[in-house]
């Protein structure tokens, strides 16, 4: 057991060099790496948090959009329905107007044909009357001479 003064001094110098080396070349890079990793992990956690929040916001926005689209669709549907009823009403009105018109023209036709038939019958009745009269009078009646009489007769029938 012996304490050696030169050894103590030598050891102190070695110790000082070792501490200096550790302080200069060992401690800073390692603590820096650890600090950087800590920051990285913190950033990652913050980013995850932000992502979750963004997802929540996006889903609620999507819900809103869906709601808007649904009401829009409802609106479009109801206007389309309204238009369809309008169109049907218009078509109905046009059709009934057309039907009226056709009916009216048909009625006018019938009227005209009836009057034509009446005229023809009148004429024929007149001729028959003349023929009958001629036969009764046993005399020849000049059709041309008595056309006026006959016409008058026919008109009166």
């Amino acid at each position: 057991m012996q304490a050696s003064i030169p050894s103590i001094v030598g050891q102190m110098i070695v110790f000082a060099i070792f501490v200096w080396f550790t302080m200069k070349f060992v401690w800073p890079p390692i603590t820096k790496a650890m600090e950087e990793r800590r920051a990285k992990i913190a950033d990652g956690l913050a980013a995850a948090e932000k992502g979750a929040q963004a997802l929540k916001a996006a889903s609620s926005k999507a819900d809103d959009e869906l709601k808007v689209a649904r009401t829009q669709a409802q609106d479009i549907l109801s206007t389309a329905n309204k238009q369809a009823t309008q169109l049907i009403e218009q078509a109905k009105a046009a059709a009934s107007a057309e039907a009226d018109r056709i009916k009216a023209s048909a009625a006018a036709d019938v009227e005209r044909q009836v009057s034509q038939a009446k005229d023809a019958l009148r004429k024929q009745v007149g001729e028959l009357a003349v023929l009958g009269a001629a036969k009764i009078l046993k005399r020849e009646i000049d059709a041309k001479a008595h056309a006026e009489v006959l016409g008058d007769l026919a008109a009166r029938v």
Partner: protein, 270 residues
């Protein structure tokens, strides 16, 4: 145990340093303890190399196994410093890390078989043409007061550096002269503070030295037993010594931190 020696000769042989010159005195002024210097420096270089490799390869991404280990050590030391020292840790952190790892490796040398390196050294010494019987070597630097006092005296110097930095020279002088009994009992203050300041490096060095010297001595004594009787006590003492090795390194580091933080702190305990 080497043949042809008495147990006392064996023990004294194992407790003699490989010194640069013969000097039997308790305190020597001119004999270098070459074994302590070589082993402690080599162990320190192993520590620095390992940690420097990790520092060079250090990445903030996924760390490798070496970096993991080194980061655990650095984190452990950093937290120990943080617990009691409330200033910048740019110096105290590396200081505490160096002390812990260096002393730990010193103490670990105690776990090598007591005759392993001395036998190899005797062979080399004999091959160099000297008498192998005079090949002295001690492999545990912390079982040499020179190494432990070197650490504790360095810490002692740092205590003053930190006192001056934290309190100023005037503040330090005031505390030394007027504390703890007040200005009227100045001589007692001086005596008490002197004892207190001297006790720090002494206890720091002698605690480590005493523990490891005793451990080494018991390993040497176990080595004196017949080989079949060595196994159980050797194993038991080695297992127990794992605790001592780690604990003494930790105590050395922690006390260093505590002493320096006490020196640095402004006196608030009035």
């Amino acid at each position: 145990m080497a043949e042809g020696h008495s147990p006392a000769e064996y023990v004294t042989h194992h407790l003699k340093h490989w010194a640069s010159s013969e000097d039997a005195g308790f305190i020597t002024m001119d004999a270098w303890h070459i074994d302590t210097l070589i082993f402690s420096t080599v162990l320190g270089l192993i520590f620095l190399t390992l940690f420097r490799i990790a520092a060079v390869r250090a990445t903030s991404g996924v760390p490798g196994k070496l970096q993991n280990f080194v980061e655990i050590m650095v984190d452990f030391v950093d937290n120990s410093v943080k617990d009691s020292f409330d200033g910048a840790r740019t110096f105290i952190g590396p200081l505490a890390l160096t002390i812990f790892c260096w002393v730990f490796l010193w103490n670990c040398m105690d776990l090598l078989p007591v005759d392993l390196i001395p036998q190899i050294w005797a062979q080399i010494y004999g091959a160099m043409g000297h008498d192998p019987a005079h090949a002295y070597i001690r492999v545990v630097p912390s079982a040499d007061m020179s190494a432990t006092f070197a650490l504790s005296l360095s810490v002692f110097i740092l205590i003053f550096v930190y006192s001056f930095k934290g309190k100023g020279v005037g503040g330090f002088a005031r505390e030394f002269l007027f504390h703890p009994f007040g200005p009227k009992l100045l001589p007692f203050n001086i005596i008490l503070n002197t004892v207190e300041y001297l006790a720090k490096p002494l206890s720091l060095a002698l605690r480590l030295f005493g523990n490891l010297y005793a451990g080494e001595l018991i390993f040497i004594l176990i080595a004196l037993l017949p080989w079949w009787a060595q196994i159980i006590p050797g194993l038991g003492w080695a297992i127990f010594h794992i605790l001592v090795v780690t604990l003494q390194a930790f105590i050395m580091m922690t006390l260093t931190i505590v002493y320096l933080s006490m020196a640095h702190a402004h006196e608030e305990h009035h």
